[in-house]
Symmetry: C2
Subunit: 339 residues, 2 copies
């Protein structure tokens, strides 16, 4: 197996910088769209043979150094008892959002092997087929809580913050339930064979540093400390570039970075004992191949002081991205970093 | 006149910390809604007597130390020749977005006194009535460009970045036109009597530091350097907390901060030769009055090392905000900072 990615996570020497792209299995790939013509998004997540197929596609097409399980962060939330739907226009919808103690008490804990068996089945298929490591993943407790409290995506997260500020005990109760579920969910992915796991805290950046420290970080810390097995943990707190000192306290071996911060500044805040992942603006893939190469070179240079570096975008690849530019990006990372 | 705000901008001693709230003239106030029942949003912006009335409301109701002109950042864009509409659901819509050299060449330069006379008339009314200073404002060139290129609000700013990356000369041409307009527009506001101006770079945070430095900052610098008159300039680059070193290079006397960064960290990046404005999360106003007081105290403490500090939210006040909590905020700032 090509273990470049795992070695970079651990801060070990690699021949070149490993690369993958968040949402690399996705709508920008015609091969993915062909699978999606047959099934809706949730069915795809829940059908191991198909989920494995789309997981492998970008590894074959782009030659990335790692695969990431095709799934959705709300899969365990549905398993906790909330009704989930995906709307083309509004994104995810969770019915009966969590606003009071009755709705919190109704939430179920989960046994991943029984409640979301398709996830572990997909992982087992992939581990047998892939020549690169497989990343399992989950939403971070805070990010999952926002969807559950808001009932889907949100602009200002008023309901979430209202619960945090007005009924902190209820909020803590909810977060404890979610954290226990995420621990079980990620542990099951690790036990099924995932070589690393990534925790997506997509909405961490809507919090002030004080609120992040009080209402999000403790649960991520607990989650990471609870995971057993020798697998690297990547913590990606989106839009949290101005509070990386706190992000580091999560205990993750690898910190994901969005594109709003230079790697040099990020390393200054993080220090030299964690590896970093990132951080090209996904929109650079709408530029020319020369621009892509120039920006890759800049990021590689910025990362030269890091303990380990996994090249990635600073956010998910956009559906409108030309595939040839995604290929050019992976090629550029491999070529420029192996010199 | 209560000149506490102006003295804080200039880093002079004040008896207490001056405070105002971004969007303080807005939908959370029943008095504002009453005016809006009679006219639509754009008509309100363009009717000096009414615009002046809603500008004064929060000064009377909340006892803020400064007023900000009631207007919209797209007013000068409309004057440049783009058709503007406000949709309740989608926000601003600009028809025929700018995508090529023909549409750039069609954009008009403006003479503010002729093209948007209502703005200067509103300012003149206000300067005659207010007992506090008046802030004029404009969108920053980059932020205005995003609306013009995207045709309104955007999620990923693909069209804007595509123009930046694929046709940088066209982008530069557009930015030069916009910058000239903003210079004329702000200068006219200053000449009409505005005591300070704020430049809103609401979308600066979608850029990487490299792109901010290349595609946004030079135009802000040029704008600030071009303004004549002894008025403080506040530059508020939203979501740019991880590139404050660049933000400072704008030359603004006051740097606006959102809530994603602690004041201590912000001052570390900015140094001690600029004043700062901010930076309470607007959602704190959905908490209890005790929480508001606690957070105000924390921000005042964090700002103690600043050259000057104007208390503000880290973003516009939300329409759902209870008025009594906005009043409690202003009271808390005055009370706690005058001890």
């Amino acid at each position: 197996m090509n273990d470049t990615f795992l070695r970079a996570c651990r801060g070990q020497k690699t021949e070149y910088t490993p690369v993958w792209l968040m949402r690399q299995a996705g709508r920008y790939l015609p091969e993915y769209q062909k699978v999606r013509e047959k099934v809706d998004f949730l069915t795809l997540c829940k059908t191991p043979s198909l989920a494995a197929e789309v997981t492998i596609q970008p590894v074959d097409i782009l030659k990335t150094d790692v695969a990431i399980l095709f799934s959705d962060i709300l899969i365990p939330v549905e398993a906790m008892g909330m009704k989930l739907e995906f709307s083309e226009s509004k994104g995810p919808i969770l019915y009966d959002p969590i606003r009071n103690d009755i709705s919190v008490s109704r939430l179920r804990s989960i046994k991943p092997e029984e409640d979301v068996p398709f996830v572990m089945e997909t992982i087992k298929i992939l581990v047998g087929k892939l020549q690169v490591p497989l990343i399992g993943f989950s939403g971070a407790p805070f990010t999952l809580a926002t969807y559950m409290i808001e009932g889907g995506s949100s602009k200002n997260f008023i309901a979430t913050k209202r619960m945090m500020y007005q009924t902190p005990q209820l909020y803590a109760q909810l977060m404890e339930k979610i954290t226990a579920v995420v621990i079980a969910y990620l542990q099951a992915q690790i036990d099924a064979g995932a070589h690393a796991v990534q925790i997506f805290d997509s909405w961490a950046g809507v919090l002030s540093p004080l609120d992040f420290e009080r209402y999000a970080l403790p649960y991520v810390k607990q989650l990471i400390a609870s995971l057993r097995g020798d697998v690297p943990v990547i913590y990606f707190a989106f839009n949290a570039g101005s509070m990386l000192g706190l992000v580091k306290q999560s205990g993750a071996q690898v910190v994901g970075l969005d594109w709003r911060i230079t790697l040099v500044d990020a390393l200054g805040a993080l220090g030299s004992d964690v590896a970093v992942q990132g951080n090209l603006d996904p929109c650079i893939l709408f530029g020319t191949k020369e621009l892509i190469k120039e920006r890759v070179a800049g990021i590689l240079k910025g990362a030269s002081g890091a303990k380990g570096h996994i090249f990635n975008l600073g956010h998910g690849i956009l559906p409108e991205t030309p595939v040839e530019n995604a290929i050019a990006l992976v090629d550029a990372v491999h070529e420029l970093s192996s010199r």
